[in-house]
Every structure is written in structure tokens, then in C-alpha cells.
Symmetry: C2
Subunit: 116 residues, 2 copies
Amino acid sequence: MLISELAELTGVSARALRHYEDCGLLTPARSGSGYRVYTESDVTRVAQIRTMISAGLGTSAIRRYLDCVRTGDHGTFLEMCPDLRAELDSLARRLDARQAELREKRSRLDRLTSAG
Amino acid sequence: MLISELAELTGVSARALRHYEDCGLLTPARSGSGYRVYTESDVTRVAQIRTMISAGLGTSAIRRYLDCVRTGDHGTFLEMCPDLRAELDSLARRLDARQAELREKRSRLDRLTSAG
DNA sequence: GTAAGGGTTCACGCCGGCGTGAAGGTCAAG
DNA sequence: CTTGACCTTCACGCCGGCGTGAACCCTTAC
């Protein structure tokens, strides 16, 4: 299928799909005229990519660990290798830190608003 | 006083102080040779700016409402005018939204990590 | 004279997943 | 042939508070 069809099937913009290719997350074949040609398995792969992005992973991390992705009846998950475990742990810590920062900002804003 | 002294007194870098001037938050006098000359009241003002920034306000918003800032015994606060009230409300909503997004990311990451 | 230590004005870099034209090739349909 | 819908490859814009040189001026001490 061509890019616009994959875009419709996945709900992801064509621009994003090209971006994923630039990042090495997709490697579609090319037609004689240079058009990107995707297979049905790319639909699943894009869904996996989106799941990982929505979990906070960057494209470089996704590229490193895309082999670890499995999609089963119980949802999408990752088969753990040591590096991946460490990467996800540090990501979790970063997310927690950002959450704490946001909470601080929010409370400081409340103080600015109501204090006095 | 010169910029490095104000930087030390406030704990804010000289670069940041120049940045605040670029944004219209500070308007130091100039010596004959072009050096920025600050007064003691600028120490308070910088503290107010830092408080507002740490609460999530951007420099443009700070510039618009810097007149509303008061620093008293009960901490730094803002005298409310309608526009300011609306601005702070929308900011609070944006912070809440970002907090919700982060929570979602965090839980999705947990699912990726442990599911399967 | 000069080295040292501050001050000044640019102006790019960051962080990153895409949006958004711009300029131009491909292809089926009328 | 021509419209028009889709495709391609660049490549800048975003969001923004500063970090970080670069290149150059002022002043003081030796």
C-alpha cells in the first residue's frame, strides 16, 4: 500500500510516517517511481511505535529496542534485556522528576494567586 | 552595582539578567562606558521575577503583570486585575493538562514494562 | 606596556516530534 | 494535452529561558 493508505489505517499522518523512516523505525520498499510501498505488517509496527512514543520513549530509543516489541492478547509489551530495563528505569525516573517539577510549579502558582 | 554583583546577590546568572532586560523585565541605568548599573531595588525585583518564572509564567506574561507584584510578610503575591486572573487561570489549566499527560505517559510506560 | 578580570553586543544551540509550505515528478481520467 | 490527486525530497518553524562561545572595549594593578 502507499503512504496515504497506511496513514488512514493507522491514524498517523503521512509526514509522521516519513519521519519514522528518517529515524530508522520503518524501511518501506520503493516502487519503480520512488513511491514508498508498505506491507500490512507495517500497520502493526506503526501501532507499536505509537505505543512506545505515547509512553515517552524517543525515536532513537525506539530504534534501539524495536526488536524487543511484542504485541499479544494482553497488549503491547517489551521483552526485557538489561540495557532496555535500565533505559526504561531512567525514563521512569525522568518522568517522575518532571511530574514533581510540575506539582511544584502548580503549587507556587496557587500561592501567587491566593496568598496576600 | 554592576551585573556580576547583582548576579551574586540574587543567585541568578549574568546571562539571565541580560535576558530579563531583553524581555523588558529590567531596565538598568548605564554608566558612561556602557556598563549596566543596578539599584538595590532590583534585587527584590529579580526575586519577584524568579518567583513568577518558577510558577510557570513566561517572560511576556511577567512583563504584562509586573506592576501587580507585591512582596509582603506573607510572601510574594499578585494583586488581581481581570486580565491577570484570566491569564493565571488558563495557565493553571495548562499545567493541569500537562500533569494529566505525564500521568498517562507514566502509566503507559508501566504497562509496557510489566505487561506480558 | 600589558596582563588580568569585568563589561558589551551579537547570535547560534538546545530538545524533538512532527507541521507546513516549496518545488517538482507520477499517474489515472476526461 | 491537461487537470488533479498523490507522490517525492529538502528544510525551516515551533517553544523558550537561558548556556555558550566569539570578538571586542574599560579599568585597575604591576
